[in-house]
């Protein structure tokens, strides 16, 4: 039977003989290299994320050097699941960005929310970008400015909060800062860019022959219409949160420029000398302000997590699942689809979502994995995390379940180890 020719002019090859996943120790962050072994036809590499919020630059530099060695100086694809610092920070670090660019990927995969056509400063919208999508991206941008301001001025914005709350919120805010350098680096990289959404094409078909790659998330705004909570980002339906983040950010950014008092010429009173009934109101308001900031920051953290690209790689009857930091709302679209659920059942390697947080491995997803077993552990789970860095992450009950039913590998237990390779 005549073999068809691919676009590149090479003969269509069979699927890979072997697949291995390398997990690097980046502390609280993600960095994974997928290596598809095509025998005599060489290896194909896909880099999924490279970022951390806890590792120092020297550690990240060691990781990048090692991964460059592991892939032989070239990766076929880079996947930046979403723009949180713990997933893309290395792309924005001086020196490391050049090393990563030198890997010269054929394709860079990012969520649709990173599409420059949907950016707030886009000159014209591309055909696929709706006003609602652009508004969604705008609200994320505005909220990230707010996060930047909070990360820069935690003491001022959270004066009434306890030191631990200040630290906690400043950390979450630091995750969500715009990461412009990293985004620019990702934009420069790669011959092609794929801004993907659930059910879309990620451009890996020709690069990884014999591997079926499905995009399970993030859903577009239209796809998530059935998901009520996600709808709050639709400005027409859920204006208030959008207003909260956009308004708060613009107001606070304005104040950061130096307008320290709203009415500079109006006489003020000392708070310390105010009557007790006024002090009581001030205390209540200060505490409410901390709650407001907390709410905005957490909502933004969730919203960015929910822009995560979820990829499912299938080779024969084995599947590898890489969900980034996708939370329940992102997952719900994929989990509604009976066909996708059937594919998810075959999962043999699971990158634990969102470093093991409480709501990134939905129980309904966990229930689908047919290889989770107590005795013969056929499902491998990879957990890249760092305890005490993000409140409640990793979730102890999830870690216990993973330890009980899967072959769990967590960077948390590593000592002086830079990476580990797992073959599926």
């Amino acid at each position: 039977m005549a073999k068809k020719k691919t676009k590149k002019g090479t003969r269509r090859r069979k699927g890979p003989k072997n697949v291995s996943v390398t997990m690097y120790d980046v502390g609280f962050g993600d960095c994974f290299l997928l290596t598809f072994d095509y025998g005599n036809n060489g290896n194909r590499h896909v880099l999924i994320d490279c970022g951390s919020t806890s590792a120092r630059k020297a550690q990240m530099s060691r990781v990048v050097d090692q991964l460059a060695k592991d892939c032989g100086g070239h990766v076929d694809a880079v996947v930046a699941t979403h723009r949180h610092k713990d997933h893309i920070s290395a792309f924005g670090l001086k020196g490391l960005d050049a090393k990563l660019e030198a890997l010269n990927p054929d394709v860079v995969i990012q969520p649709w929310t990173e599409d420059p056509a949907a950016a707030p400063d886009a000159l014209e919208a591309s055909s696929g970008v709706t006003n609602a999508a652009a508004a969604h991206v705008l609200s994320l941008e505005a909220a990230q400015q707010f996060a930047q301001h909070l990360a820069d001025n935690p003491l001022r914005m959270l004066a009434a909060a306890s030191p631990s709350t200040q630290r906690q919120l400043a950390h979450i805010a630091a995750l969500s800062i715009p990461n412009k350098k990293a985004i620019k680096c990702l934009t420069r990289m790669g011959k092609h860019h794929a801004y993907v959404h659930a059910g879309g094409d990620c451009g890996l078909k020709d690069l990884l022959p014999g591997v079926r790659v499905s995009v399970l998330g993030p859903p577009t705004l239209k796809q998530s219409e059935g998901i009520r909570r996600q709808k709050r980002w639709d400005e027409n339906e859920f204006w208030k949160l959008y207003a909260d983040v956009a308004g708060a950010s613009s107001a606070n950014v304005a104040s950061a420029r130096g307008n320290s008092a709203l009415f500079p010429r109006v006489p003020t009173d000392s708070i310390a000398r105010a009557p007790s009934y006024v002090k009581w109101v001030i205390r209540e308001l200060d505490s409410a302000q901390v709650h407001n900031v907390k709410r905005i920051v957490r909502a933004l953290d969730d919203a960015l997590n929910n822009t995560s690209v979820i990829l499912l790689f299938e080779i024969g009857d084995k599947a590898l699942l890489f969900p980034g930091d996708a939370q329940l709302e992102n997952w719900q679209y994929a989990l509604k689809d009976a066909d996708l659920r059937a594919h998810l059942r075959k999962t043999r390697l699971y990158k634990v979502g969102h470093h093991g947080s409480t709501n990134a491995t939905p129980q309904s997803l966990w229930a689908l994995f047919k290889y989770r077993r107590t005795r013969r552990k056929l499902l491998t789970s990879l957990l890249s995390t760092h305890k005490g860095h993000h409140p409640g992450v990793p979730k102890e009950s999830l870690v216990e379940a993973l330890r009980d039913k899967t072959s769990l590998h967590s960077t948390e237990s590593w000592r002086n180890k830079l990476r580990e390779v797992y073959t599926v």
């Binding site: 208030k240 003020t268 009173d269 200060d286 997952w331």
Partner: protein
């Protein structure tokens, strides 16, 4: 001698709405006179100008008696002077409070127990404003507008009135913030919108800017512009278009959507309409469309057939009167609303009953018929049982609450009439002694939360004296015991037997001037249908307290209930399963 009222300038809508002379549209409102401290700090409202984002406390301005300091102030002063901002919020909240007190015929308390509500006009940087019962306050944010100008939510009449209504409603029915069926949260939002919007229509200067004027002095209006469809387009939609130009990020769309939304029977059953603001818009739409219909009915009684134009002032007067009358009806209805788990059907029955008590005849404008029809268009039926009861001669008019039909006569010998008008224990004694006749569930914790004597005067001078008292019941149990307690009620699908749930019930007792029970608006605690629907909604939407108990509280941080309304966790996500423990 102390004058009865004080006149103060307020911004009629928001600073972007200008009059014919291109000046900010203002209104002079009369509010009860009081001896004010700097702030202003009065007997019910205390303005504290503290900015929590900048941690700045502005010195409270002295209040000059005898004149309105901003009556001739230029626009720039109104926008930039925090002293005016303080006056604006003080006057709007006081006017609304006085409006509620006049409609109900008694003093109205705040929901948090104190006498003075703290109103903070520049509370934080952010396009938000909210009522916090824990902080005894109304907090208004400020933000940078699209053109880089500062926007103060405290200058928007609609925003201030909406938030103040939340506070007043909480004072009258503080049980309406307890987690319940989606109608209840929707009612809080919808009712606040209705009050804010109808109070804007009560300001003739605002109505004037909305209507198309004609004639050499622009004091006439074409008769063709006074048809219902046209009025809806100019007055309601016009207001919607003007609304929120400044605070567009805050709440521009709610009115626009409420007005544009064509009646859709069955909309309330749609799961996408469970979000409280969207649900509230349905209530706003029904009441606002009623307003337009009543306005046109009033106009039809005098509009000449031969002339093409009529005096604008008279049209405005009719509109303002219709708005004021509907607003009074809506506020009075609160006394006849059930004590827990209100639905829109309950509110309709309460509206009809409250008005019928004062005006047994529906009058030439047929307010009650219009309301019944407008609610019916959304398939909202009165909760009272309606037509069948009229046929059975149990009630005199469709939709009104049924009078108590005790199988056994009520025992009044145990109570003293005068004490029954003011003493909680006396009302409890009446309730306890008549628990069988009144069908009060005996095994629940029961307590009387209020007793309020009131005097109301109808438009025809008719005086109505009533005493309105509320009692509550609560019952904590495990979900597995629900069938036994609630007449075979099943628990929501998937809810474990061991889940802690709290059931609420209670009733409103309305006594006539002779101390006899006139209405008993009861929310049975063992009503399986109501309790199932409520618990199912809470379960499916993950609305529980921090100990994962359902029906106790919604788990939002102290004082943040209204601030986080939009940030509520989605329960379907909960069902998909988080990792607990």
């Amino acid at each position: 001698m102390m004058p009865a009222t004080r006149t103060l300038t307020i911004i009629a809508q928001d600073p972007s709405i200008k009059n014919a002379a291109n000046k900010i549209l203002r209104a002079q409102v009369r509010i009860p006179y009081e001896n004010l401290q700097p702030g202003p700090r009065g007997y019910r409202v205390h303005v504290v100008d503290y900015d929590s984002s900048q941690r700045v406390l502005y010195r409270p301005p002295a209040v000059k008696d005898g004149y309105d300091p901003f009556i001739r102030a230029p626009d720039s002063t109104l926008c930039r002077d925090p002293v005016f901002h303080a006056q604006n919020v003080y006057a709007i909240v006081m006017r609304l409070l006085a409006r509620f007190e006049a409609a109900l015929g008694r003093r109205v308390s705040w929901g948090f127990g104190g006498h003075q509500i703290h109103v903070v006009p520049h509370a934080f940087a952010g396009a938000n404003a909210y009522y916090s019962d824990d902080a005894h306050g109304l907090f208004f944010g400020y933000f940078t507008g699209l053109e880089g100008n500062p926007v103060y939510t405290c200058l928007s009449h609609d925003v201030v009135a909406h938030e103040a209504t939340h506070a007043l409603l909480d004072g009258l029915r503080n049980t309406y913030t307890v987690p319940s069926h989606p109608d209840q949260a929707g009612f809080h939002e919808g009712f606040s919108d209705v009050v804010a919007l109808l109070s804007v229509f009560g300001l003739p200067d605002v109505v004037r800017t909305l209507l198309p004027q004609t004639g050499p002095n622009r004091n006439r209006i074409r008769v063709s512009d006074l048809r219902a469809g046209r009025l809806k387009e100019t007055a309601l939609l016009g207001l919607a278009e003007q609304f929120g130009q400044e605070v567009s990020r805050y709440r521009a769309d709610c009115l626009r959507r409420a007005v544009k939304r064509p009646p859709r029977p069955g909309a309330l059953e749609d799961p996408n309409v469970e979000e409280c603001h969207i649900r509230g818009e349905i209530l706003s739409a029904a009441v606002l469309n009623s307003f337009i219909e009543v306005w046109t009915t009033r106009l039809k009684t005098w509009l000449p057939r031969t002339e093409k134009t009529v005096a604008l002032d008279r049209v405005i007067e009719d509109g303002s009167d219709a708005a004021e009358q509907l607003l009074t009806m809506c506020i009075r209805a609160l006394d006849y609303c059930p004590v827990v788990d209100i639905t829109f059907g309950d509110f309709l029955s309460a509206l009809l009953t409250a008005d019928m008590e004062l005006l047994p005849d529906d009058g030439k404008y047929g307010y009650r018929k219009v309301l019944r029809d407008q609610f019916k268009a959304w398939r909202i039926q009165p909760a009272s049982g309606a037509a069948e009861e009229v046929r059975a001669r149990i009630v005199s008019e469709p939709g009104v609450w049924q009078k108590p039909l005790a199988k056994e006569p009520l025992d009044y010998d145990c109570v003293h009439r005068q004490s029954l008008e003011q003493n909680l224990d006396e009302v409890f004694r009446f309730l306890w002694e008549n628990r069988k006749q009144l069908g009060v569930y005996e095994d629940a914790y029961t307590w009387v939360i209020s007793v309020r004597p009131c005097v109301r005067i109808g438009p025809d001078g008719f005086v109505l004296r009533e005493t309105v008292s509320e009692y509550r019941q609560s019952l904590d149990l495990e979900a597995g015991r629900l069938p036994e307690v609630c007449d075979g009620m099943k628990k929501p699908e998937g809810m474990p037997d061991s889940t802690s749930v709290r059931l609420h019930g209670g009733g409103v007792l309305v006594f006539d001037e002779f101390g006899h029970l006139k209405y008993h608006i009861r929310s049975r605690i063992d009503n399986p249908k109501r309790q199932y629907e409520r618990l199912k909604y809470l379960w499916e939407n993950g609305i529980h307290d921090r100990r994962k108990r359902y029906g106790f509280s919604d788990g939002s941080p102290k004082g943040q209930r209204f601030a986080v309304l939009h940030d509520r966790r989605d329960g379907r996500a909960e069902k998909a399963g988080e990792w607990d423990g």
